[in-house]
Amino acid sequence: MGHIKRFAADFGLPRMIIAVYLLGLFLMAPMTGVSFSGALSDVFTRIGMNGILVLALVPMIQSGCGLNFGLSLGVIAGLLGATVSIEMGYVGVWGFVFAILASQAFGAIFGFGYGVLLNRVKGGEMMIATYVGFSSVMIMSIAWLALPFKSPVMIWGYGGEGLRTTISVEGFWRHILNDFLSFQLAGHKFPTGAILFFLLVSLVIWAFFHLKIGTAMTAVGSNPIYARASGIDINKMRIISVVISTMLGAMGIIVYQQSFGFIQLYDGPLYMAFPAVAAILIGGAGVNKASLTNVFLGVVLYQGILTMTPLIFNAVLKLDMSDVIRIIVSNGMILYALTRKTKVLK
């Protein structure tokens, strides 16, 4: 009994409620005539799509920079990478690889500047990150109007100005990962490549935190004064974490696009960070501590709810409340994390 109680305390009440809710949805699926395998395939597609974006939050949480509400900066780097790749006319695997490489370069540059800024506002990172993210999205919106892209796929056809709001990657690298090694699962496609890619990137991050530098980063997040007394350059560690986070964000959005099929410019990246933040918090991460388990669990639970809620609600109540539930669950989760008494409050 005590064991169960301990487990409950460790697992956290909200996470438990969400897990039970999701389980309930899955159990109801057969009764309501919702295709179970179809739903499952959908969930996996979304996991592959969003996983890296959630993963991108880990380095900054671990180094004590808090929840990266400025993930949109990484997303912008990804958009730049993707548009440049299309502009150059690379198609297929090479287009995808080039997009990622280019986005990593942009991500590194943006991340560095962003990290330097965050180092000067220690303690107020989250709110500043949010608004720095928002304003960068708007600057980029101006840039999308002004940048001299030529590719007819991307610019408005009828003499409009700048790039289109959504650009299709059909014919470039749509589903390039999703289709890789994919197989049919009870009549539905399983996005093997995307899942594998997500696992691969997770493995790299896992390894990173087992290196000397990753260990130092964790210590900086856990207790910066301790880390400093042990000869660690706190600011450097924080900048590295922000750079990695931004680069992962850039990679994440390209993986997202190949699955989604479109590049969304302008306002598109504005709220990109919030679902990712909600997911990792649902996975049990705190404002100062996150693990890969949190990422996996979070992305599964969150994307599971997102997929299953509308299906079941539509089938049972003929009522689409999924948007409202998504808003309440994800923001409720962030609120919970913010108001939770954390031990390390630096």
Binding site: I128, S135, V137, M138, S141, I142, L145, F274
Partner: protein, 364 residues
């Protein structure tokens, strides 16, 4: 000379925007009289909302991103009034009365949650706004017309429950502006709106002079000291947020009656952003804001609002550019204010460290 420099540094944001606008106005080619009329109208429309932000700043809780909760309460009040067909000024007043208990409840909730997240009130209020938006949508889109009776079928979606996306406020539209008609030099002056703003300003001025106000200032400057002196810190903070939320509710009603329509699901969303950006453009900071900042902010922000698209179009040939620029300014000025605030805080920490060194300063 030194004083002049100090003046420029302290009012850097305002001066920057004055310069920006003085370039953009000629570029936009909009006539001066049109701009003047618009500003007069918008002062009446938006100032109340901006002033609603003042008390939490005084209580050291920063920019109250949770003000959208008040805006929701205001909208609920208006929706009920529309449903019951209460028209004109009585309708507006009744909407305010309906919003009052809802605002108090939401303000109490917001304040309590912020008390649990001391030191990150802003991000908490910001997320709380999103969260309550979900609850509000649940209320407006699902509960209204099913759990809560709605008499007026025109308000409901065709499916029979849930409020329509757009609610027409024809029966109260601009009643404040036209109640006491006054025309000066061909410009319409919304007298009653201004009276409302004067009233809320007077309230704020008076409130600062009360013990409540004094306690809020004390709590805002140093929670620990205020607490040690026996001031109920948490309670005082909650009261600041409640008043702010109530005023935001009233402000939203005034704002919407001027526009004439409610966008049920998103009229309130941007209000927090715009009001906060407005206040900051008026020269306020995270720790200090005055009624003056609010009014200057409204004038500058809305001038920019008006001229940016046209200026963008005339200068670069793109109206969208001006629009994005305007949004960038809204977000950017908040980011800037927050950065400045954190820098100042870090500098202050350093400073207080230095003071601990003691009276003698013969350290080489």
């Amino acid at each position: 000379m030194k004083r002049l420099r100090l003046f420029f540094i302290e009012n850097a944001v305002v001066i920057l925007f004055v310069i920006l606008i003085s370039i953009a106005i000629p570029a936009s080619g909009l006539p001066g009289k049109f701009l003047l009329q618009e500003i007069l109208t918008r002062l009446g429309r938006s100032s109340f909302l901006v002033i609603a932000l003042l008390l939490p700043i005084m209580a050291g809780m920063g920019l109250n991103f949770g003000m959208v909760l008040g805006a929701m309460a205001g909208q609920i009040g208006l929706i009920f009034v529309m449903d019951w067909k209460i028209v004109g000024i009585p309708g507006l007043l009744l909407a305010m009365l309906i919003s009052l208990p809802i605002s108090i409840l939401l303000g109490w909730l917001c304040g309590s949650i912020m008390n649990r997240a001391k030191g990150r009130e802003m991000v908490t209020g910001f997320i709380l706004g999103f969260f309550m938006n979900g609850v509000y949508m649940m209320f407006a889109l699902y509960a209204m017309g099913s759990l809560i009776p709605v008499m007026n079928p025109e308000l409901l979606l065709s499916r029979g429950y849930g409020i329509r996306n757009v609610v027409d406020l024809a029966s109260v539209r601009q009643t404040l502006e036209t109640f006491i008609p006054l025309k000066v030099a061909g410009l319409n002056i919304p007298v009653l709106s201004y009276l409302f703003i004067a009233a809320v300003s007077a309230f704020i001025v008076w409130f600062r002079k009360t013990k409540f106000g004094q306690d809020m200032r004390a709590v805002g400057q140093n929670r620990a000291v205020a607490g040690a002196a026996g001031i109920a810190v948490d309670r005082t903070r909650i009261i600041a947020v409640i008043i702010s939320t109530v005023l935001a509710g009233f402000g939203q009603i005034i704002f919407l009656q001027n526009l004439g329509t409610i966008n049920t699901t998103n009229s309130h969303e941007q209000i927090g952003l715009f009001s906060i950006a407005t206040l900051l453009i008026g020269g306020a900071s995270v720790t200090e804001a005055s009624i003056c900042n609010a009014l200057i902010g409204v004038i500058l922000f809305h001038l920019l609002f008006l001229v940016a698209p046209m200026a963008g179009k005339n200068l670069i040939g793109s109206a969208m550019l001006g629009e994005y620029f305007r949004q960038f300014v809204s977000y950017g000025v908040i980011a800037l204010a927050l950065v400045l605030y954190e820098w100042k805080r870090v500098a202050q920490d350093e400073n207080s460290r230095a003071r601990l060194r003691g009276g003698r300063t013969d350290v080489p």
